[in-house]
Symmetry: C2
Subunit: 233 residues, 2 copies
Amino acid sequence: MRKYNGIKVIAFDADDTLWVNETYFREAENKFASLLNKYETENKIHQELYKKEIKNLKIYGYGVKGFVLSMIECALEISNYNVKQEVINEVLGIGKRMLDEPIELLDNIEEVLKQLQGEFKLIVVTKGDLLDQERKLEKSGILKYFHHVEVLSEKKPEDYKKLINRLDMKPSELLMIGNSLKSDVLPLLEIGASAIHIPFHTTWEHETITTEEKKNMSYQTFSNIKDILPVLK
Amino acid sequence: MRKYNGIKVIAFDADDTLWVNETYFREAENKFASLLNKYETENKIHQELYKKEIKNLKIYGYGVKGFVLSMIECALEISNYNVKQEVINEVLGIGKRMLDEPIELLDNIEEVLKQLQGEFKLIVVTKGDLLDQERKLEKSGILKYFHHVEVLSEKKPEDYKKLINRLDMKPSELLMIGNSLKSDVLPLLEIGASAIHIPFHTTWEHETITTEEKKNMSYQTFSNIKDILPVLK
């Protein structure tokens, strides 16, 4: 199809594009709120945890370990330092279970990778904990389809530019596919690459964007990853 | 010099090779032990913390965030879940301060990089938290000397092999310089690359090796990084 002429490299986001991720964070947040509901309404606990995560993002970055540290800090503050030590231990347990979660591939992922692998160079571009992302790819069974895996600490236009230089390609040769408009679509369009949006049913508040931010941006949205095949092949 | 004939790429470990790192962990451990010394001898606390770190290494990986999570778990257990909530908060603070520590370059680092940069391709190969390592390099002021930065989750022979392939070089063209025999020297020799050992005054117990492991391995040890100049130039 004309729109994607000249594409040589297809980059896939990982969390909530290749496999389920945000669902585990939602479950963890709910569990956390229920552990502390004697101190505050669960709604307020969700709000405070989110504020804490955003405040700590600069120092901890993305990923489960920083999330757990923010939960502990939030539990101490919400309870006015009365939270039981056993609850802190349960929060540590929530994190360890998240890091050991099985990988649940999203529908049709493997089929799509199989069909694209001969014609395009496929790569993964994700952010988060290096070890955790490597482990998830290892467990996913789909590592074999990818030429390259890149774990970034941020997904800003600058980060994609560096990646494009490092992999020795032109922006016009790159198509990114992901569930986050903020991280996987808009920064790519900004630097002259292409992007396709495949929404996941839940998006972390931090990854949502305003209508203002996406005006004048042109990209396609598909509900299922297999819908990219007819426009690419 | 003959020994290093054919070297094109010099890889530097970062923590305790380019800048001080282990010292901050030692200080954090001492602070942690003093916070808990009503429950156990400080010596025992050091031992238990080390055990906890090693046990969690597989799930948390290297770096400050996993270290803090292990300290919290250890504090709960050592105190039989009696540790004060304020102490948990202090442990979180130890971690945040570590992540915000200024970078203290080791002696002569910049001088050495300056002298080598024209003749060799210089890279950084480190393990730990991606964001934390990037931030340290950024703050260090020496990022400009390096062609490439690689943050690995492990430094086993396999990891170095993958790196060599990715950077399109031969093992014989690579010289690694670092403070850890286990991570920066032996795995390189094992895959046919070269390595120079520059010890730091303190080494994390996990990075130490036995005499048995290093037998038949041939490498040079220098006490200061500037001593590599005469053998390379």
